[in-house]
Amino acid sequence: MNLILRPVAAEFSKILTTRMWWILALVLFGYIALLAGGLAALFGGLESGAINPDAVNTGGGSSLTGLGSLPPLIYSFASSVGYVFPVLLGALATTGEFRHQTLTPTFLATPKRGRVLGAKTISLFVVGAALGVVGLAASVGVGALVLGGFGVDPLLADGETWALIGRTVLAMALWAVIGVGLGVLVPSQVASIVIVLAFTQFVEPLLRFAAAFTEVTADIGKFLPGAASDALVGASFFTLASPGGTVLEPWQGGLALLAYGLVATVGGYFISWKRDVT
C-alpha cells in the first residue's frame, strides 16, 4: 500500500509547497463570486420586481424569470465557468515537472514511472475536488446570499441542490485529471496553458454553439468536454443559452469526462512520461 500512498503523499506535498494552488483558488473564488453574485442580483432583482424588466435588456430574461430554476443555474457557475482552474492546476503540475526538470529527483525516488503518474492523477483529483468546493463556496455561498436578499428561495433545503453540488465537485475533480493528461500529452508548459485557455475560453464555446445547429453535429457536440461536464452537473448557463442542443445524462457526462482524462493521461504516458529524461 505504501507503494502508492507514498507517491500520492509526495504529489500532494508538491502541490501544497508552491504558491500556484492558492493563487488559482483565490482567483477562482473571486471570479465566481463576482459572476454568481452579479447574476443572482440581476435575476433576483427581476424576479422580485426590485428591478424593472424594461430597465434592462436581458434577451431571454423574461423566460428566465419564469424558469424557477434560477439557483441551480447560478450555483453551476462553479464548474461551468470555473472548470478552467482545475485544468490549469493539473496541467501545471505535470508540465512543471518537465520545465523545472524535477522529473529527475522524482523518478530517482520512485523509479516506477507509471506509479508516479497514477499518484499525480489521484492527488490532482482530490485537489480538483477541493477547487470545486472553493468554486461552490463562491457560487452557492454568495449566490444564495444575494438571492435570499431579494426574497428568492435559494433552494438550499432542496436535496436536488445538494446533488448538484456533489456532481459539481466531481466535475471539477475530473477536470483536474484532464489537466494532468493534457500536461503529459503536451509537456511544454506554455503550449499547454495556451491550449487550455484557447480551448476553454474560445474554441469549445464556439464549437458547442455551432454544433447545436444541426442534429448530427449536436450529437457529436454533446460529447465535447465542456458539454459533458455541464451534463454531469445537470445545469448550466451555456445549455440554456443554446436551446435545442442535445444533452447527455449526468452519468454519461461524468464517464465522458473521465474518458478524456484517462485517454490523455495514458497517451501522454507513452508520448512523454516514458521518454528519456536528459
Binding site: T18, H100, T102, L103, T104, T106, L108, A109
Partner: protein, 300 residues
C-alpha cells in the same frame, strides 16, 4: 553503516537518433574508493550516468548496482544517492520543502531534511526559495538530495562545477570520507585537475568510448618525459635542433623537445654555439596524460 555496492556497466550503448553518445562501454566501480569518471564535454558522461540511474533507456547493454538495475532496487534512495548536473528544482519551493517531497516519496524520516542540509552547509537557507539560490548553493542542494537516504553508493555528475574554492575544498574531503566509510563513490568531471586530489581510480572516456581505466597512478607513466629549452636566439636554436634531427614543437615557454635527457639537448646547443636561457626536464603531468588520452582517442 551503509555498505557500497559494486557498480557494473556491461557493453552499454546509447544512440540518440544518428548520434552515438555512448558506445559499448564496460567498466566496474568498486566500493571504498573514489572513482573519477572523466572525459571532455560531450564525451557521454551524463548520458552514461543517466542510463545507470534508469533515467535514460540504454539502446543496448546494462548498468547495475550489485547486480540490480536501478528500477529494480527495493529502496532506491536508501541504496543510491545521485546528483546530476542539471538544476532540478522548482524555483518557488524552499530547499526544505524540495527535499521534504522526496523524503515522503521514499518513505524516509522527515528529520533527514535538516540533517542533510546541515551536512552540505545550507541549514541557514533551508526555508529560502530555491529560485534565489546561487549556482554553488544549488550544487549543494543537489548533493543534499543525494544524501537523503544515507546511501552506500554516491553518483555525482560534475559536482564541483560552480562551487566556490571553499566548497571545492569541502567536497574533496567529503568524497574521501564517504569512500573511507566503505561507500562507492562515482564522480564525473570534464577536468582531471578538479578531482585529481580526491580520486583513487579513473575511468576516462572520449567520444562515448572507454580510453583508459585504472588507478590514478596509472596515468603517471603514460607519457614520456620531455625537455623544455629556450634561447635568446630562438631561430638559431631551432636550426641547431633541426640539424641534430631531434623532434620538437614550439611551446609557450620554449621549445618542447621529445627526448628524455636534458644533457643531450644542452650538448646540441653547446656544439652549435647557441646560448640557452631555459633548459629543464618536464615530466608530463597527469593532466597532459589525460589530454593525450582524450584527444588521441588511443588507449596507451
Amino acid at each position: 553503516m551503509p555498505i557500497g555496492a559494486v557498480i557494473e556497466f556491461t557493453s552499454i550503448t546509447k544512440k540518440f537518433g544518428q548520434v552515438t553518445a555512448v558506445n559499448d562501454l564496460s567498466f566496474t566501480v568498486e566500493p571504498g574508493r573514489v572513482t573519477g569518471f572523466l572525459g571532455p564535454n560531450g564525451a557521454g558522461k551524463t548520458t552514461t550516468l543517466r542510463m545507470l540511474l534508469g533515467l535514460v533507456a540504454p539502446t543496448s547493454g546494462t548498468a547495475t548496482f550489485g547486480g540490480l538495475r536501478y528500477r529494480d532496487l527495493p529502496r532506491p534512495l536508501h541504496t543510491v544517492g545521485a546528483a546530476l548536473e542539471a538544476a532540478s528544482f522548482h524555483p518557488g519551493r524552499t530547499a526544505a520543502h524540495h527535499l521534504g517531497v522526496y523524503t515522503i516519496a521514499a518513505g524516509l524520516p522527515r528529520t533527514r531534511v535538516v540533517e542533510v542540509l546541515h551536512t552540505v552547509g545550507l541549514a541557514e537557507h533551508a526555508n529560502q526559495r530555491v529560485g534565489s539560490y546561487s549556482l554553488g548553493m544549488r550544487q549543494r542542494l543537489g548533493l543534499a538530495y543525494s544524501l537523503l537516504g544515507d546511501p552506500g553508493v554516491l553518483v555525482l555528475d560534475e559536482p564541483i562545477n560552480g562551487l566556490d574554492p571553499e566548497g571545492i575544498k569541502w567536497i574533496r574531503g567529503f568524497l574521501s570520507s564517504m569512500a573511507a566509510e566503505g561507500r562507492t563513490v562515482l564522480v564525473s568531471s570534464h577536468l582531471l585537475s578538479e578531482v585529481q586530489q580526491s580520486v583513487d581510480d579513473v575511468i576516462i572516456i572520449a567520444k562515448g568510448e572507454l580510453v583508459h581505466s585504472g588507478p590514478l597512478s596509472s596515468l603517471d607513466t603514460n607519457i614520456a618525459p620531455q625537455v623544455i629549452v629556450d634561447s635568446p636566439n630562438r631561430d638559431a636554436l631551432i636550426m641547431a635542433l633541426t640539424d641534430a634531427g631531434v623532434p620538437f614543437t614550439s611551446g609557450r615557454t620554449g621549445l618542447i623537445v621529445a627526448v628524455p635527457d636534458p644533457g643531450r639537448v644542452g650538448h646540441i646547443a653547446f656544439t652549435a654555439g647557441v646560448e640557452l636561457n631555459v633548459l629543464h626536464r618536464q615530466k608530463a603531468g597527469l593532466e597532459d596524460s589525460f589530454l593525450a588520452l582524450v584527444e588521441g582517442g588511443d588507449s596507451l
